[in-house]
Amino acid sequence: MAPGVRAALFITCVTDTLFPHTGRATVELLERLGCDVAFPREQTCCGQMHANSGYQEQAIPLVRRFVRAFSDADHDAIVCPSGSCAAMVHDQYPRLAELAGDPGLARAVAEIAPRVFELSLFLTEALGVEDVGAYYPHTVTYHPTCHSLRLERVGDAPLRLLRAVRGIDLVELDDATTCCGFGGTFAIKNADTSAAMLADKLACIQRTGAEICTAVDNSCLLHIGGGLSRQRSGVRAVHLAEILASTEQAA
């Protein structure tokens, strides 16, 4: 896929509502790389919270809504700054369409799913870039989120992007692939267990000496960042898109 590609943003409800700066950074980054960015405004939430909490039937109308919102748009790829929400489309939408008993929906999902990309995979695989021209003079550690790693299979794509950032001091996180304990409604329904998992993740982050913990999912960063903030740790959670969007001019 050459620059000039038309990218439709699948922004996710979490980023749209709580982390608009990640959304703006994603737009800046994609446009700097020559993409033509669109934002289909009819999108709301992909339905993951409902589907993963046992309310699959309530998630089905949201699958239909997603398919409608993105089938109208004139685009080559649907780009999502979240591994988990991209995985929702790839992994769960086909099952939900089957549960709905709707072959038309299943076909629409099968048509749309291959065009959905998690951001780091879009950059490295679809655009074929690793050096996005970013400058970020900070000490950063990277937490690979579970769904980006095990469902979207991003591999080391985020790390390759980070290594090419000028000025960055990238430090390795112990037990990096262990879940941070977010898990969507798990953090509410099993709050104590989630807190215990978070405590261990925060201890690993603190040990790196980094000032910033980054990841490709704002939902996990809401949890990690919320814990870092409560501890007055002096460490911040920052989405990968914001690091990649930063330039020498901006700094």
Binding site: P20, F39, H50, Y55, Q56, L62, N190, M197
Partner: protein, 465 residues
């Protein structure tokens, strides 16, 4: 258990000793497993073969079981069918009584724990002696097992020394050296092996084609239990049947590496019926359903029956590592327990277990028979909500949110409302204190950002709209 998993987990999480024991044990076994898996070139192909084999066995389970019955009978054994634990226990009690014995030695068995056979035997005046070292520790402590493979994983060696000194004769000067502990258990068990006329075992598999039953273990105590007594009674879940003898090879390639992190386990005992002048004179195989047929009826959930009880999923599970096995209140803890227990009880028990996971997927990655545990967890959450009803408040909130997400204008209005509602609680753009209500658990240990003045979409409309 009224509060289910969340309440039980809350208690267990306070146990600092347990947390340390579990972290140490699971970290060690994870590393061992990873190193022996790495040396197998075709591990993924092996997993595919294991999954395919178990899938095939379950697809024609009725035929394989009937063939197994014929094969065992031909080889001189007797097959008994038990619809549930009560029936299975009654069969075993009658069989032991018929020998006139008042004691039985047992090799580690999940199935007999599942049906509480020891309690049924005790009620009939029969003492069951667990001979697996860890099971013995659990039994002496009047405790519950907390891991499929390492039932006493929650105990450390100092605790075990205290248990042995309290219960085993001649152990007053026992140290907590592993070799000394093993020697004390050996002396005690040797005497039981040589004097007890009835052995009770579980089974890792039984082969329909030949009637061969197999037990895979590390200590050799299982070998003693299955060869020394006059009468051997094996209780096996019906899902453990393998169609052909060749299938055993696939299982033996997958199981030890996944469970103990060994290339091969030290003792694999295979027996086919009875052999005159060698081993038990009588062999009984009790085939246990206990919810398995019902589980088989669920096209998604049935994959849980592929499980070969290796416990790799427990050892990699970040939830299990922190709460331990007891929080699951089930014979089968960890990720596999979370999908197996509620199904074996037809959603009458263990209904909080499908939520005992962050859906991180580490379990699926290691499962030697490729059970997609996260998918089954999600599926069972749906079944519990549909068939048993979710908590009333949660259901209302989920339905309300679904209505909000269904319309763009409602969603945009809700974004603004969320900001307005949280502003009074905000300090520098964050909610930094504990509050009652559904966010209580979140705010206990985490701050929460207040939605910024301008959402992403508002910015987009202002800039690009």
């Amino acid at each position: 258990m009224s509060g289910g998993f969340p309440a039980a987990a809350r208690e267990e999480l306070r146990n600092a000793q347990l947390r340390r024991n579990l972290r140490k044990a699971t970290t060690t076994i994870r590393a061992k497993r990873a190193s022996v898996i790495a040396e197998v070139d075709n591990w993924e192909a092996l997993r595919d073969a294991g999954a395919e084999l178990k899938q095939r066995a379950l697809a024609d389970l009725d035929k394989h079981l009937e063939q197994l019955e014929r094969s065992v009978t031909t080889a001189g054994g007797t097959v008994h069918w038990a619809r549930d634990g009560t029936e299975a226990n009654a069969i075993v009690v009658d069989l032991v009584r018929a020998t006139g014995a008042t004691e039985a030695i047992k090799v580690k068995s999940m199935a007999t724990d599942e049906i509480a056979l020891n309690d049924a035997l005790a009620a009939a005046g029969i003492t069951a002696h667990e001979t697996d070292l860890a099971e013995l520790i659990v039994q002496l402590g009047d405790d519950r097992q907390s891991h499929i493979l390492v039932p006493a994983i929650h105990r450390n060696r100092a605790e075990i020394r205290e248990l042995f000194r309290a219960h085993l004769p001649g152990t007053e000067d026992l140290t907590d050296e592993p070799a000394a502990l093993a020697e004390a258990a050996r002396r005690y068990l040797r005497q039981k092996f040589l004097t007890t006329p009835v052995g009770i075992s579980g089974a890792n598999f039984a082969v329909a084609e030949t009637g061969t039953v197999g037990v895979v273990e590390s200590e050799g105590n299982g070998r003693m239990c299955t060869t020394l007594p006059h009468t051997l009674i094996t209780v096996m879940g019906i899902e453990k049947v393998l169609p052909r003898f060749d299938d055993v090879a696939t299982m033996l390639a997958l199981l030890p590496r996944s469970s103990t992190g060994e290339r091969m386990n030290p003792y694999t005992s295979l027996w086919t019926g009875v052999t005159p002048g060698d081993g038990p004179r009588e062999f009984h195989l009790v085939l246990l359903d206990a919810g398995r047929s019902a589980t088989l009826a669920d096209p998604v959930g049935r994959d849980a029956l592929r499980c070969i009880r290796c416990s790799a999923c427990l050892n990699v599970c970040p939830v299990y590592e922190r709460v331990g096995g007891h929080a699951y209140d089930s014979t089968y803890p960890g990720p596999i327990g979370a999908i197996l227990t509620p199904q074996l009880h037809e959603l009458n028990e263990g209904t909080t277990l499908p939520w005992a996971s962050s859906l991180c997927g580490a379990c699926y990655e290691v499962c030697p028979v490729k059970i997609d545990i996260p998918q089954i967890l999600v599926h069972l959450r749906g079944r519990v909500v549909r068939e048993r009803g979710g908590p009333a408040g949660e259901r209302l909130a989920m339905e309300a949110l679904a209505r909000v997400f269904a319309h763009r204008r409602r969603y945009e209005a809700a974004q603004r409302a969320a900001r307005v509602a949280s502003l009074p609680l905000s300090r520098d753009g964050r909610i930094e204190r504990r509050l009652p209500g559904p966010m209580r658990g979140w705010l206990a240990v985490r701050d929460l950002p207040v939605p910024p003045r301008e959402s992403f979409r508002d910015w987009w409309v202002r800039e690009r709209g």
